[in-house]
Structure formats: C-alpha cells, structure tokens
C-alpha cells in the first residue's frame, strides 16, 4: 500500500500499466488454478452427461440419483478433510480403511454388550486416535517410512476388526446411536451434516490458522520449517491423529446407518479419497493443495463413477476410467512442475 503510494507520488512509474499487468496475471493465475479448472470441468461434465441421459440428473424422480451420490460422497468427505491436511503436510496414510472398520466393529461390540452410547463412542475415538498417534510417532520420532508404516497399521487395524467381529458383525444398535447415521434434522441427512460442519472447519484451519500455515511450510520444506522454529513433528502427529479420528467417526456413522458393523464395511475408501485429493491438486510431495480442490477432485471421481453406472458402462471399464483420470492428473502435475523447474 505504502509502496504504491510512493510510486504514485513520485510519478516514478505510470501506475496504470502495472495494474493492468497485475490484472492480466490475476486472470491467468485464476485459470491456472486447479480448483478453477476442476470447477469448470465438473460443470461441463454435468451438462454433457445430462444431455446423454436424463437419469443422471433428474429422472425418474426429482434429483434422486444426485442425492444418493452426494450422501455417499459426504461420507467420504469426512475423511477427505483431514487427509488433505496430512497430504499438504507432506505425509501419507494408508491405514484409513482399517481404522474405519476397526472403530465400527469395536464401537458396535461395546454397544451390543450394553455399554452406554457415550462411552462406546469415546472408546471408538480412543482406539482410532491410538492408531493415528502410532502412525505419527513412528514416522516422525522413529523416522519410519510413512507408506510402509501405515500399510502395517492398516493390516493391524483390519485384523482387530476381523478378530473383534468373530465372524458375526455386531448389529441391531440402540435407536439413539442409529440416529447418528440415519437421522435427518431439518430434512438433511446426517452424513451431509457432518460434511457441512467438517469441511468449512478444515478450510478455515488450513487456509487461515497458524497451524494451517505450518502445515504448508512443513510439507513444502520440512527442514526449512524446522529451522525457523516450526514444530514439524507435532504438525505431522496431530495431522495423523485427525485423519484417524475422522476415520473413526466415519466407521461409527457407517455402523449407525447400516445398523450393523461389518469388519469390511469399507474397502478402497482410503485410496479413493487420496486419489480425489491428488486430482484436486494436492501434491504427494507436500506443500500444495486445498480442501476446495480435494472436494472438487472427489466430486469429479464420484460423478465419473456414477455416470458410468447410469450410462451402463461395464464395471471393469469404470475402474479403468478412474485410473486413467488419476494418471492424467498426476501427469499434468509432473508436466507443470518440470516446466517451472522449481528449486
């Protein structure tokens, strides 16, 4: 502000040329942003597919297909929000599916044994956050590889889920617990509520708070962040615990919705969420990405799958298409990086 003022007063540079330049670069920057590209892509996708078939958007009754699709996606955004924080912070977590299933089964077992609902829920969160803490501790303090560490804890959590269920998934839960997944206050179903509450919170944390700034710094250059006094290990451990807590919440909400906690309720959610985030601009190297981007990436993947079903594409091709989209996103990223040749 003061610099602008000075240059105007001194008449050193004609201010109009600089502002026109910055306006043009602003436009270019907007169009260069992954979020903007994805938003346009998503809208174009809806327009094109709804021309091909009415069943995608509004037939046969209202927006039924879209509504079902959004509820499914809302469940995944519970995990997406903290997963973006973790990815931006330069880390990676494969244990989510295991934690979702483990928490669902453990909470379910406690409930059918008559444990009060709040205690069952708190126990579920404790079990989930324990896995998150182990992930974070191993990766930071013991300098273990995040990929292998979380693969290990995934198997452990999945094993606990299978063992605790003992072949018969706990089912038939108290009404109050079921309403955590099946309720619809103000006509909006619970999964959508969780998304409405968690996504803005995650956006705020990542974009506005000091913790968010430290996540970006840690993911961008961990050693530099450490040298400037950022508590990088704490950033990583907290992020892992947040992912695990969200996975725990998802596990309980699935159990509540299905009125049954199968040890293999989710299978592949973890990778879908990560793929959505990466399509949305989270770089696996860390330091880049936004919740908005992740959300739009996940939406694109969800719509692609849904449209494939509505259009009658064979399930084999559906998964091929997803793979191709992911490769294109990662390839575009690598190309952009090489062109910039950042150091």
């Amino acid at each position: 502000m003061t610099t602008d003022m000075n240059s105007v007063l001194q008449g050193a540079r004609p201010p109009s040329s600089t502002s026109r330049l910055s306006r043009r670069s602003w436009l270019r920057r907007m169009l260069g942003r992954r979020e903007v590209i994805l938003l346009i892509l998503n809208i174009a996708f809806i327009v094109v597919v709804s021309q091909l078939t009415p069943y995608f958007l509004y037939a046969p009754n209202g927006f039924a297909n879209f509504r079902v699709m959004f509820v499914g996606m809302a469940m995944e955004t519970i995990v997406l929000a903290p997963m973006v924080l973790l990815l931006v912070g330069g880390m990676f977590d494969l244990s989510v599916d295991g934690v979702v299933n483990m928490t669902g089964v453990l909470t379910g077992v406690l409930l059918v044994q008559g444990v009060p609902i709040p205690i069952a829920i708190v126990s579920g969160f404790l079990a989930a956050s324990a896995v998150g803490f182990v992930n974070g501790f191993a990766v930071t303090k013991l300098k273990m590889n995040p990929l292998m560490t979380t693969l290990g804890t995934w198997w452990i959590a999945q094993g606990i889920a299978l063992g605790a269920a003992q072949g018969i998934p706990p089912h038939t839960f108290p009404q109050a617990f079921k309403s955590l997944g099946q309720g619809d206050p103000f006509g909006i179903t619970m999964p959508i509520w969780y998304a409405i509450l968690l996504l803005p919170l995650a956006i705020w944390v990542l974009a506005r708070t000091r913790f968010g700034y430290h996540i970006y710094a840690t993911g961008g250059n961990r050693e530099a962040a450490r040298l400037h006094g950022v508590k990088v290990d704490r950033v990583t451990i907290v992020s892992f615990v947040l992912v695990a807590l969200a996975a725990g919440l998802a596990g309980m909400v699935y159990a509540a919705r299905l009125n049954s906690a199968g040890p293999q309720t989710v299978n592949g959610l973890n990778l879908r969420v990560i793929a959505g985030a990466v399509i949305g601009g989270c770089s696996l190297g860390g330091g880049e990405g936004t919740i908005w981007g992740g959300l739009l990436g996940l939406l694109f993947m969800t719509m692609l799958t849904n449209a494939s079903i509505v259009l009658g594409v064979s399930p084999y091709w559906q998964i091929c298409i997803l793979g191709i989209v992911l490769l294109l996103a990662v390839g575009a990223d690598a190309l952009a990086k090489r062109r910039v040749a950042s150091g």
């Binding site: 506005r208 000091r210 700034y213 250059n221 400037h228 950022v230 910039v340």
Partner: protein, 258 residues
C-alpha cells in the same frame, strides 16, 4: 612448515561482556570430526567474519549456534550465562537469527509467508495476512531489492531474490545476533555491494553480526574482526586493523605462500 597455529586470539580490547561465547565445542558427524575444541566469542556491536576453506567447519559452527545441530562437547554462554541450544527454537528465543547457506526457504510458499514462517502474526486466532503483507512490503523497501510481488511463489524467484528474502527474514527476526552463511554467494557484483551496504547499516551497538564469506574483499570491507577455521579448528581471530590479507590467507591455507 606444517607449523600448527596455536589458537591465537588477539587480546580483547573489548570492555564489554561477550554476547555469546563457545567454550571447547566439538561436533562429530559419525567418525568425522567437523569441529574440535572451538573457543569462539561474539562481541556486541561487532561484525565478525568467519573464513576458511571448503569443509573447514564454518557452516557447522553456524548451525551449532543456530540450533540446527547440537554440539557433542563444550559449553555455550549467552551474556555470561550458560545456555543450552538444542533446537532452532532455543536459538531463536535468544534473539539469534540465521541465514543458512541453502537459505532454508519454502519454495511452494509466497514471499510474505517466507518472511514470517514460524512467527506468523495472528489476530482472533487467525493469521493476520494483512499485517504480514504490510510488514513484508516494509522489509522489501528497507532491503531495496527487486521482488516482483509479496504474493510471488519463492520457488520461482531468482537466486539473488531468494537470498534477499532469507536475509530480510533474519534482519526482521534477529534481536541479538545475525548469523549470515555466505549471504552474497548468489548475488551479482552490484547486488553484493548493496547487500554489504545493507549489512553495514545494520551495525548496532547491541547486536552482533557474524558473516561467513569466501570473498576476502568483502570481508575486509565490512568486518571488524576476522576469525579463521581450518580443518575444524579455530586457528586465529584478528582485528581487521591488526592483520593483512596475506596473514589471513596463510591462516586459511596453513601454508606459507610468500
């Protein structure tokens, strides 16, 4: 010929207590002894140059003071009181700011954030972006460097611009000591001289500046005292007025070139 120089420090005419002193500090990287039994002092108000050949241990010494590495042996005193520097936070808390040889910038973040990493100003629990940008502008004006915009991604700037940002950060942060590890290495001739002028303007009775440089011209221009490391040992520390470039070169190489 291979005469070993006894640590030969000019008698301090300084009446002031040292700002920082290291006593018998050693650092090992595995079996490699990067620093051995260093006695090193930083006086308030001085600009001290740290010179020595590649691998002499200059950056290691800087990193021990900045908390990036911890000393394996020895003691550190700040204003006469023993202190432990185990992490960058400890050093920053003493008012020590460091420009590392590799600059330690986050390339994916913009200029404004890089100037404030680790001490982002907050308001109502949120980062005060407006304040950060205003202070970033003020700093860039002070440094008189050509940075396209405080929103520019640091990874896309030139080496000189990046160096200016790293130094701007340290200038803003350093309340007691500024450690500059080769601050002019990436700069052109004109920019180097601007940077040296800037460092001279930062001379302050309360603060001290330690500058690592291979350029003896620069060293003789701005330093009050020149300290030489060779093979991990402190082989001499001279007031500029008491020495010559020839003597410093002899100390650096350990050989009589004349």
């Amino acid at each position: 010929m291979a005469s070993s120089f006894a640590p030969d420090v000019s008698p301090p005419e300084y009446s002031l207590e040292p700002l920082l002193s290291l006593k018998g500090v050693s650092k090992f990287y595995g079996a490699l002894r990067a620093l051995s039994q260093i006695d090193f002092t930083i006086q308030p108000g001085e600009i001290q140059a740290l010179v020595g050949d590649n691998g002499a241990g200059k950056s290691t010494l800087v990193k021990i003071i900045s908390g990036a590495h911890t000393a394996d042996e020895g003691e550190i005193f700040f204003k006469g009181k023993p202190v432990t520097i185990r992490s960058p936070e400890d050093s920053i808390a003493l008012g020590i700011a460091t420009v590392y040889q590799d600059l330690a910038l986050v390339g994916t973040r913009d200029v404004a954030h890089n100037l404030f990493i680790g001490r982002e100003p907050t308001r109502w629990g949120m980062v005060d972006r407006g304040k950060m940008v205003a202070e970033a502008h003020a700093l860039i004006d002070l440094l008189n460097v050509d940075i396209p915009s405080v929103d520019a991604q640091v990874g896309k700037l030139s080496g000189g611009q990046r160096q200016a940002i790293a130094i701007g950060r340290a200038v803003h942060e350093g309340r007691s000591i500024l450690l500059l590890d080769e601050p002019t290495a990436a700069l052109g001739v004109k920019e180097s001289h601007q940077m040296l002028s800037l460092i001279e303007t930062l001379r302050d009775k309360q603060k001290a500046i330690v500058i690592v440089s291979h350029n003896l011209l620069h060293v003789f221009r701005i330093a009050d005292r020149i300290t030489v490391l060779r093979g991990g040992q402190l082989v001499g520390s001279r007031r500029k007025t008491d020495t010559t470039a020839d003597e410093i070169i002899r100390l650096i190489t350990g050989a009589d070139l004349l």
